[in-house]
């Protein structure tokens, strides 16, 4: 009897060890802050906070999903909007973690900054168990972001020329209001209508608000949406010029770029002519 008990304990210990071994294959590694997440610890958190929208199977078909637009992310497909990696590749763990901290502005996805860093890292590890892609593919290599060059008037003017040349205005509109000629026809990869970012109302784009974030967004593209990657067609110095120009479209979000733009007569006249400076403006809220 006693022997049997001991062997039972041994067996269950072995099983537990095995489980730990399997779980460690489903970890997430976050550099900032330095934490390691575990899928088994993320599971109860997911079924407490996330499954209402993202669904029990992680396919984006949760109970609330029919009432949510844009639709909740489908973790089985594993196409993610905010990445540091090239279009079509899996994101880094850090990208998913940052998304949890930030949330998605103008959507139903809130910031999860209220959770602990460990909680968020655990959730990232668990989310990765929904798609087989995480087992067969490696995340992409982050697109390098060179140091931001000095801000000049010329840089912003050149950025404006690129805005024309690359035809950003076809969707985002000549004044960056998200009302370009193609805007009304856009749909995301779930066939849901989607609006281009309206620069005039906010500087809080979905994938971050810093200059580096802006740079990253048009280099990586926003997968699952009409926003393509420009990584293969725009040189890094041109991309920075474009970032500087985009800030001058954000009339109501003070920035060093806007201040410098407004200090020139030309820039001041352009902004004043639109009669939108310091007003509540734009063609509507962002999607």
């Amino acid at each position: 009897m006693r022997n049997i008990n001991i062997s039972k304990i041994c067996l269950s210990l072995a099983a537990a060890l095995l489980l730990v071994g399997i779980a460690s294959a489903q970890d997430s590694h976050i550099k900032e802050p330095n934490v390691t997440g575990h899928a088994d610890a993320g599971k109860p958190l997911y079924y407490r906070y996330c499954w209402g929208c993202h669904g029990a199977r992680g396919d984006g078909n949760g109970e609330n999903a029919p009432y949510v637009t844009p639709t909740p992310r489908n973790f089985v497909q594993a196409t993610f909007k905010c990445r540091s990696t090239p279009t079509g590749t899996l994101p880094q763990d850090q990208d998913l973690y940052n998304t949890l901290v930030r949330g998605f502005n103008f959507t139903n996805m809130p910031s999860w900054a209220a959770l602990t860093a460990q909680n968020r890292a655990d959730l990232v590890a668990f989310i990765k168990t929904f798609s087989p892609r995480w087992k067969t593919e490696k995340p992409g290599d982050p697109i390098p972001i060179p140091a931001e060059p000095k801000l000049t008037i010329e840089s912003m003017k050149h950025g404006g020329e690129l805005f024309q040349k690359l035809e950003c205005w076809k969707c985002h509109g000549q004044e960056g209001r998200g009302d370009g000629p193609s805007a009304s026809t856009l749909t995301d990869s779930n066939d849901q209508p989607i609006r281009p970012f309206n620069f005039t109302t906010s500087n809080r784009s979905k994938c971050g608000r810093t200059n580096q974030d802006l740079y990253r967004i048009f280099m990586t593209g926003v997968d699952g949406t009409p926003m393509p990657s420009f990584a293969d067609v725009v040189k890094p110095e041109d991309a920075w010029d474009l970032v500087h120009y985009l800030r001058t479209l954000q009339y109501n979000s003070p920035s060093p770029e806007l201040a410098l733009w407004m200090s020139t007569k030309e820039g001041h006249d352009i902004v004043e002519a639109k009669k939108v400076y310091n007003t509540n403006t734009g063609s509507g809220i962002n999607p």
């Binding site: 497909q77 076809k170 969707c171 026809t185 990869s189």
Partner: protein
Amino acid sequence: MRKSHVVMAGFAMLAASAVTMAGPAGGTVSGKVTYEGTPAKMKPIDMSKEPSCAKMYSTPPVAETVVTGPGNALGDVVVYVSAGAPDEAAPSTAAIFTQKGCRYIPHILAFQVNQELKISNEDQTSHNIHPLPKLNREWNKSQPPGTPPISEKYDKSEFIPVKCNIHPWMHGNFAVLKNSHYAVTPETGAFSLANLPPGKYTITAWQESYGEQTQEVTISGSETKTVNFVFKAKPY
């Protein structure tokens, strides 16, 4: 002397006939794809929002979701061996997909798993190439005028709709197939799948709005079997 010449000539003839015999390895499946009923009338495309493309046409081009020819022939149908043939390694040649006049040329591009896909832009306007796969990785790339071709490949067999978000009328399809036994029908609806070793095959015909049909066929020797497909046209 003379005798040996005659014998040698005889050998030469035999050898030549052996070479010609070796040419058609296996059998052929050929046939025609047609429709019954009335297909929807294809609407002219309004390209007025993109003048650089609109001026390339004297009369506006029509949509290509259903391409028909004389005698109820159905074009742009992918006919391929969906079962019975082994998977093949990708050929070294690239499949070429061109954006010209704000349209995709060809409208349906069939190629093999892991075959190089080269996409180029011959227009004076920026396009974004946004294929919408379900099994493969989804990517979305911008291609302004004068930029080098985009090189990509797909590692799973799938029919993938392709669109340009900037020009919403632009619509095409990639057919990523597992072997080289495929054809995309021209307006005559005719197709021919050659070099099929003896065996039992499933032939599938796929049309982007009418769906797909399959037929079984057994090939023995170097015979040619006829397989025809008839799709029911949707009037809308």
